[in-house]
């Protein structure tokens, strides 16, 4: 199992290194967004998949990360790569502060509270109070970074490789974290809170830290996304960002690193596909495809790969990481 998934991970990485030399810059941009969303979905998965807390408001953390990067680059001339750690710290703190009260609620109530957060985000970003920094309704335009050390790469190629490197690093950290003691504690809290508490897991603290970590991942993704799109504005962070991330998570499959990547592919390419099928009502086509996926594969697309990799352990590996 371990060797097979290592081989699979290496294969995906090898495939991911090809596109800069094969595809047009628009396709490359789309792939950059796949990596960005994969990081964000991975963050959501830690909270929803591993710890069992539904969040419909992760778009708020994505927006926080994006605005952090944009404000630092536009108002303070901070280089793009240095905005990522700042976005990470800010979103960690934001997640901790929001998660502490919200996580005392179970399941559906948390979903509602976070949904409220998602709906309120554009209004908060438009506030006159912060207009000097956020640019109000207009938003902020930022410029695309040049490749360093005089490398012979286009801006798009460099941005894709940079994003991919950050993504691989974050996936490795997540993999080690989720396989170790903390990951076990998260799953224990999800499946058997009583037993987890009895074994000495501080449930409230673990949930809050997970929420903060999850917000941090999504925030880093937001910062990368802002650099790739080169523009942030309140209305691009409507409730649909949160919904999109959630859709990616559910379609890809929870508790699976591979699922985060598959879900990201879904949310980047299926809306385009829906657009091609029907110009008039792309949302309806998207919705139908989404519901179709969920009916055929309620456990996500990654469950197919899981079955293929471990045919005889189908029933027991619900919480398996790879």
């Amino acid at each position: 199992m371990a060797r097979k998934s290592l081989a699979l991970a290496l294969l995906i990485l090898a495939l991911a290194l090809l596109p800069p030399w094969l595809l047009s810059s628009y396709r490359l941009f789309q792939l950059t967004m796949v990596v960005v969303y994969a990081i964000a979905i991975l963050g959501l998965d830690m909270l929803t998949g591993y710890t069992g807390q539904i969040s419909l408001g992760h778009g708020a953390f994505y927006a926080a990360g994006a605005y952090t990067a944009a404000i630092l680059m536009a108002s303070f001339d901070v280089p793009y790569w240095a905005t990522l750690p700042v976005a990470a710290v800010i979103c960690f703190g934001f997640g901790f502060a929001f998660g502490f009260p919200a996580l005392r609620l179970g399941g559906l109530y948390l979903a509602l509270a976070t949904f409220g957060l998602a709906i309120a985000v554009p209004q908060l970003l438009k506030l006159k109070l912060f207009e000097d920094w956020t640019g109000g309704v207009q938003g902020i335009v930022i410029s695309k970074p040049d490749p360093p050390f005089g490398l012979a790469l286009s801006q798009d190629q460099w941005l894709y490789l940079f994003t991919l490197a950050v993504g691989v690093l974050l996936f490795l950290i997540a993999r080690n974290l989720l396989r170790g003691r903390i990951g076990l504690a998260m799953r224990a809290v999800r499946d058997r809170p009583v037993a987890a508490e009895a074994m000495g897991v501080d449930i409230a603290m673990l949930k809050t830290r997970t929420f903060a970590l999850s917000a941090m991942y999504t925030g880093i993704a937001g910062a990368l996304g802002a650099i790739a799109v080169q523009f942030v504005a309140p209305d691009s962070f409507s409730v649909f960002v949160s919904i999109t991330l959630f859709v990616g998570l559910v379609v890809g499959g929870v508790t699976s690193l591979l699922g985060a990547v598959l879900g990201a592919i879904f949310i980047v390419f299926v809306p385009n596909l829906a657009d091609q099928i029907s110009k008039a009502a792309p949302g309806a086509i998207y919705g139908v495809i989404l519901i179709g996926f969920l009916m055929l594969l309620p456990a996500g697309v990654a469950s197919l790969a899981r079955r293929a990799l471990a045919p005889r352990r189908a029933m027991t590996n619900q919480g398996e990481t790879r």
Binding site: R104, G107, A113, K128, A281, G287, L294, P298
Partner: protein, 290 residues
Amino acid sequence: MQALWHQIFSGIATGGIYASVALALVMIYQATHHVNFAQGEMATFSTYIALALIEAGFPYWLAFLATIIVSFAIGVIIERVLMRPMAEAPVLASVGVFIGLLLIFNSVTGWIFSYSVKAFPSPFPETSQFLGGWASPHEVGATLVTLVVLVLVYGFFRFTKLGLAMRAAAYNPVSSRLVGIRVGWMLALGWGLAAAIGAIAGMMVAPIVFLDPSMMSGILLYAFAGALLGGIDNPLGAVIGGFAVGVIENLAGAYVVGPELKLTLALVIIIAVLIFKPAGIFGRVIVSRV
């Protein structure tokens, strides 16, 4: 003082709309323990049907009635076709289906009826001296309609055999099945009723906020806040919570935070309720062993 009373009255009127949507949410929550995120979009779709009927020459109240019946049917069909196969699926997948429904309804509404903002007629007179001009006739009428719906729903659940069967099916599906209640149909009926109530709310709010495909998304948030404030398992509580949120929103919007932050206010209410009184004011506190 005049201005204050006016704010309170229009708060009660918009609160009535929130109360209807909150009531629809609570009905589905009681029957299925799901919160339907597509409720608002379904109500908007129903309102467009009503507009189409009125424009085709139907008298208002006939169109009103026809819309309620069509919405009821749509609710039942959605439960039968989409939610039934998902009954055994993980919670995450069913929330995903709700989101899919939201996208479909939003997009289909815009596709069939166009995205442009439209005016929706009110069945009540334009102006009157009723209540000393503190509230428009439509606001008073909408509040009355909400109250009538509430009384009907209460009576249905309290005094009819079907209402009792629905409550039993939600409370204890296995035993209900054993005494011959068709639990599956009770769920479908719950969906139908919720869709019908949502349709009424949509037709009452449309003359105030104007009709466009995303009309209900903000309203849905206030309705959530109202349902939580009153207690998500208590229909009467949800209605009172809905009215309360309407008044709070109007007063705070006029005197405290200004109109820009009205939606954020709903978020603050939600979080405050969740922190200080998670069961809501009238909800049952569920004690679980942790």
